[in-house]
């Protein structure tokens, strides 16, 4: 199992001009590691991070869009895999940090922790799919995450982190969305 913060720190060390769409626990961890204008925090309705990412990938084809999703979140919008598989944006990478729980909402288990997310993604015809359970294997996938002609789907098996509630007030403020929009213009 992977420590999510360690995985995100590794990802952050490689990040340059990519758009990063993050949600819930992945988002709070990501923000604690790297605060940058090209961070986009999915808010408003749980589960839509990958849909925001799909829209961004279509709107900004010159940039790689990396979505940091959770397993509970993805389950709230599982059909997104079918939509992404059909639209097939080459610049979209969708990472799901799987800990089998609704970590932000008390650590309750997802309805079936044994669900095969990679299998779902493959069935949805997403071009590149993988699952990793140790940090070395994740690092070996970085070329796919950053450069593969996508879409790319990766299930990252992680340990449960600190249970919520966490504060999202700072990450959801309007100033961040304004800064994000300005950063895209540069």
């Amino acid at each position: 199992m992977i420590d999510r913060k360690q995985a995100l720190a590794l990802l952050a060390s490689k990040i340059t001009n990519q758009i990063v769409v993050a949600t819930y626990s992945s988002a709070t961890d990501w923000l604690s590691i790297i605060d940058r204008p090209l961070n986009y925090f999915s808010s408003g309705a749980m589960g839509l991070a990958s849909s925001h990412g799909l829209g961004l990938a279509i709107a900004r084809p010159e940039r790689r869009v990396i979505v940091l999703d959770g397993d509970g979140s993805l389950l709230m919008n599982l059909p997104t895999l079918v939509t992404i598989g059909r639209m097939a944006p080459r610049n979209l990478t969708h990472l799901v940090f799987r800990n089998g729980t609704y970590e932000a909402n008390g650590g309750h288990p997802i309805p079936n922790p044994e669900v095969d997310f990679e299998g779902h993604a493959r069935a949805a015809k997403i071009r590149h799919c993988f699952t990793v359970s140790d940090i070395e294997s994740l690092e070996k996938r970085f070329d796919d995450i950053f450069n593969a002609e996508g879409p790319v789907f990766g299930c990252v098996n992680v340990e449960q982190g600190v249970l919520g509630p966490r504060s999202y007030k700072d990450m959801y403020k309007n100033e961040r969305r304004v800064a994000f929009r300005q950063a895209l213009r540069q």
Partner: protein
């Protein structure tokens, strides 16, 4: 009165709706099929190279995708049925309303009676649509026939000018050619 003397009810041409959508520079349409707008709008849109059609599985997906598209200044239209609007209401509230994003909804009112305003419909689901839009602060118009077509483009322009969601209710059933 003979049959020849009866006045034909006003029609809503799908082509007229599409013309107005284009006039407002919509390039992307996100949709879950709706019986009410299927043949008159979605089918011709799917065959029109001026549009990029994004077929989604569930209506709330549209809100995330449309939000992302705004960051490329891409004007999209979410074409769904009123039941899908009700289903996606939390995403409409959280993404479009609270983030004040220029997102335009085109909502088919399947089963609305001709000449009856939605709030007076015999169908509960239809009666509540405009009051809900009012509560969440989304400006809206209802398009019943061709005489209403000039209301469409201004609602889309309003969304982009003031960066907020707007809604166009399709009351009449759009006719294919």
């Amino acid at each position: 009165m003979s049959m020849a003397d009866t006045i034909a009810p006003p029609k809503l041409r799908g082509a007229g709706v599409i013309e107005e959508i284009k006039r407002a520079n919509i390039t992307h349409v996100l949709s879950v099929p709706d019986q009410h707008t299927s043949s008159g709008l979605l089918k011709p849109i799917s065959q029109d190279s001026d549009f990029n059609l994004i077929r989604v599985c569930k209506e709330d997906e549209c809100l995330g995708i449309a939000a992302g598209l705004t960051y490329g200044e891409i004007r999209s239209l979410i074409l769904i049925q009123y039941t899908g609007f009700l289903y996606a209401l939390n995403a409409i509230r959280g993404v479009a309303c609270e983030q004040k994003l220029p997102i335009c909804l085109m909502i088919g009112l399947l089963g609305k009676e001709p000449g009856v305003v939605p709030t007076k419909s015999s169908r509960f689901g239809l009666r509540i649509i405009e009051p809900i839009l009012d509560v969440v602060g989304i400006p809206h118009v209802c398009i019943d026939d061709d005489r209403d077509l000039p209301k469409i483009a201004p609602m889309i322009e309003l969304a982009w000018r003031e960066s907020k969601p707007t809604a166009i209710l399709i009351g009449g059933r759009p006719e294919a050619k």
